[in-house]
Amino acid sequence: MADPMRIRAQAQGGNAVVRVLMSHEMETGQRKDAAGKTIPAWHITEVNAALNGKPVLSAQWGPAISKNPFLQFTVKGAKAGDKISVTWVDNKGDKRTDEATVA
């Protein structure tokens, strides 16, 4: 199972700044191993964020995103106590959702 994300959400003048660290290999599918065999692609394809269950961000990702990606975004109108949830799905169908409370 995938490792948890680290999500921090900070209220800032009527908005919330959300910072997310995801634990993922993000293998591009273009690299070869020591034996010369192509390492199969394994990366996040989709990221979704929600504020109190309501979608606020949707992104399509590909092999250009780094290993262990960092994502930062601002949610308008979010305040302390609100719940921010982030979900990613990768090309193997693995999936992970984590939640944080706006502080």
């Binding site: 490792d3 948890p4 680290r6 910072r19 660290l21 634990s23 290999e25 780094s66 290993k67 262990n68 960092f70 930062q72």
Partner: protein, 270 residues
């Protein structure tokens, strides 16, 4: 000389800004690299390793189904805060000077019943070595912002420093390199990479005080053991045993030299 010039310029008032501007425009590649690191620091993936390490510390594992919570890292069983900046140090139960990694191996063996020799022989980034990455990330993070202050009162600690110094200058291999070949002068670099002078205290968060670190290029968390291992690889030396005495002695030498500098570990490196 420079200081004098600056003082004169300031005395003339209006020239002050000019002088400051001149200094700023001389921003080097080192500044650019520092800026790059600052940009990354906010999202340092070392945090992912820290989280894993904290959980591992508390998880019951191994043949003895025990956690590491009674591990003595130098300040008594279970104390984690502040231990990192005082390692390597002498431990009476093993009769050895140990760095963080070698001490963790002792605890994993005695408390959890894991095979320390086997873990030491495991390749970096695999199996229990992967767990060690998390543990060193979390334990070093618990000393972030503290100053290095390695103990030097025990004769074994003094001996490790003196031997470590000798090893730092030990030349060998087909290229005749020693650690000192690259790390004994100020202001030198390999290609564009600045080289800290490790025979002295290179300053807060530099050299010894910057490791463990997340390497962006490999996406892995490197402890001092792995850092030293790669130095020896590039020195064209044979392979230093994980947690071997040579590595602990060198860490003692560099750590004592870094006395008073602030640890920023786990930091982020390109």
């Amino acid at each position: 000389m420079l200081m004098n010039k600056f003082a004169i310029a300031c005395a003339l008032g209006s020239l002050c800004t000019l002088q400051v501007q001149a200094q700023q425009s001389s921003s080097s590649s080192a500044d650019a690299i520092a800026q790059y690191r600052a940009m990354l620091a906010d999202g340092n993936p070392a945090e992912l390793f820290e989280a894993k390490g904290e959980e591992l510390w508390k998880t019951r594992r191994g043949p003895k189904n025990a956690s590491l919570e009674r591990c003595d890292l130098g300040k008594g069983p279970g104390v984690v805060k502040g231990v990192f900046v005082e390692l390597p140090r002498y431990f009476a139960d093993t009769g050895r000077v140990q760095d963080l990694e070698s001490r963790l191996l002792s605890c994993m063996e005695t408390l959890q019943g894991l095979d320390a020799k086997q873990i030491a022989a495991t390749a970096f980034g695999r199996d229990e070595q992967k767990n060690l990455e998390g543990l060193v990330a979390w334990i070093s993070a618990e000393s972030r912002g503290l100053k290095f202050n390695l103990p030097q009162s025990h004769p074994q600690e003094q001996k490790m420093y003196a031997v470590g110094k000798r090893l730092f200058f030990f030349r060998g291999g087909p290229y005749d390199f020693a650690c000192a070949s690259c790390h004994s002068e100020e202001g030198k670099r390999i290609r564009l990479q600045d080289l800290p002078n490790l025979t002295k205290n290179p300053g807060d968060g530099v050299g010894f005080a910057a490791w463990p670190a997340y390497r962006v290029s490999s996406g892995e968390l490197w402890g001092m053991q792995r850092r030293l291992n790669d130095c020896f690889r590039q020195q064209r030396f044979p392979f230093p045993g994980y947690a071997s005495d040579v590595t602990v002695a060198l860490a003692t030498y560099m750590g004592v030299n870094s006395k008073g500098s602030v640890s920023i570990a786990p930091s982020i490196k390109r």
